[in-house]
């Protein structure tokens, strides 16, 4: 049992080592690089970030990002490099533009629509209730009687 656990944990550890080892001359650059490769999307395995993907292209793009960061340029420069070539698709956090407005505003529009629908429904119901005639004395007496019968 223990051996199996060991094998399992080892294989998991190997799995998480998709990225090659990079050396940086500045810890801030390393931080920028590690942050970027998690924020950028791999185009081959589309639901993986550059950091997660073992695809050939992801490796090449990590090298590009590394070179840009290591040469002293900013994170924005690295992002721009990739967006210029691959489009906003590489961003897991795309900017708000006319094309992406549905993506950003759609959920809120749906929420507002839903709230408006419920408000309308609630209003209709309370109006319908208000329109109901009040009970007459006779009805009130019968109701009381029935209630006593059920509870007694």
């Amino acid at each position: 049992m223990r051996r199996w656990l060991l094998a399992l944990s080892l294989s998991l550890a190997l799995n998480s080592q998709a990225m090659e080892i990079r050396t940086f001359d500045d810890p801030a650059k390393q931080q920028a690089y590690e942050h970027l490769v998690k924020e950028l999307r791999c185009l081959v395995c589309q639901n993986q970030s550059l950091a997660d993907s073992d695809a050939d292209l992801a490796q090449d793009l990590r090298t590009e990002v590394y070179n840009i960061i290591q040469s002293g340029k900013s994170e924005q420069d690295a992002v721009k490099f990739l967006v210029d070539r691959y489009g906003d698709f590489v961003l897991y956090n795309p900017p708000l533009k006319p094309v992406t407005s549905l993506l950003w505003l759609g959920p809120f529009a749906l929420l507002l629509g839903g709230l408006a629908f419920f408000a309308l429904l609630a209003k209709k119901r309370s109006q319908a209730r208000a329109a109901e005639p009040a009970l007459t004395d006779e009805e009130r007496r019968r109701l009381h009687e029935l209630k006593n019968k059920l509870e007694g």
């Binding site: 081959v44 292209l57 090449d60 590009e64 070539r85 691959y86 489009g87 698709f89 629908f117």
Partner: protein
């Protein structure tokens, strides 16, 4: 009457899901459409002494096809390219992407060479410049050297007949750059 609203919501949902099914998530819109081909200069595959670059793409409508000997879909696409080359409609330039020279040349020898010439991009840097993410990819370049269309994946006869060929004919009618 009370079923109308859920029914409408349901129909809208089905329409959206239907559209979603038809979309190909591998088709990433290229930011290069309508922009000049990215600058590059590469050695040619067959003649390493000669170069090929973006300047060579000006003057006539051409196709740039990204291929590699290790690429399975390229092999699938290859017979169609051979047919196109025979029809001699426009020059087809190859970009031999992340390949080995021997392997690339051997591939062309074995299967036939549809390319006017191929540029040799050993480390894939030019591929990245062109936003290549899945070989084969095909770019339609107009007379001014501007990218007008990108096709990702093997060109199908349908895509050729319905999209690429009409576009090429239209571009060939456009005036030459003065």
């Amino acid at each position: 009457m009370r079923f109308i609203i859920p029914l409408i919501v349901f129909i809208v949902l089905v329409v959206f899901l239907g559209i979603g099914l038809k979309l190909d998530p591998r088709e990433v819109p290229s930011p290069f459409i309508g922009k000049p081909a990215p600058a590059f200069t590469l050695p040619q595959l067959a003649e390493p002494g000669k170069t090929f670059g973006d300047a060579n793409l000006k003057g006539q409508v051409s196709l740039v096809n990204v291929w590699a000997s290790w690429c399975v879909s390229c092999r699938q696409e290859h017979p169609l390219l051979i047919e196109l080359a025979k029809e001699n409609i426009l020059p087809i330039y190859g970009l031999n992407y992340k390949d080995e020279r021997e392997a690339g040349l051997g591939w062309l020898k074995r299967l036939g060479n549809p390319y006017t010439l191929s540029a040799f991009d050993a480390d894939g840097r030019v591929g990245i410049e062109w936003g290549v993410y899945g070989v084969p990819e095909t770019f339609v370049i107009d007379k001014r050297g501007v990218i007008r269309h990108k096709h990702t994946g093997p060109i199908t006869p349908k895509a050729w007949q319905e999209t690429l060929l009409p576009l090429i004919i239209q571009l060939q009618k456009e005036g030459s750059p003065s």
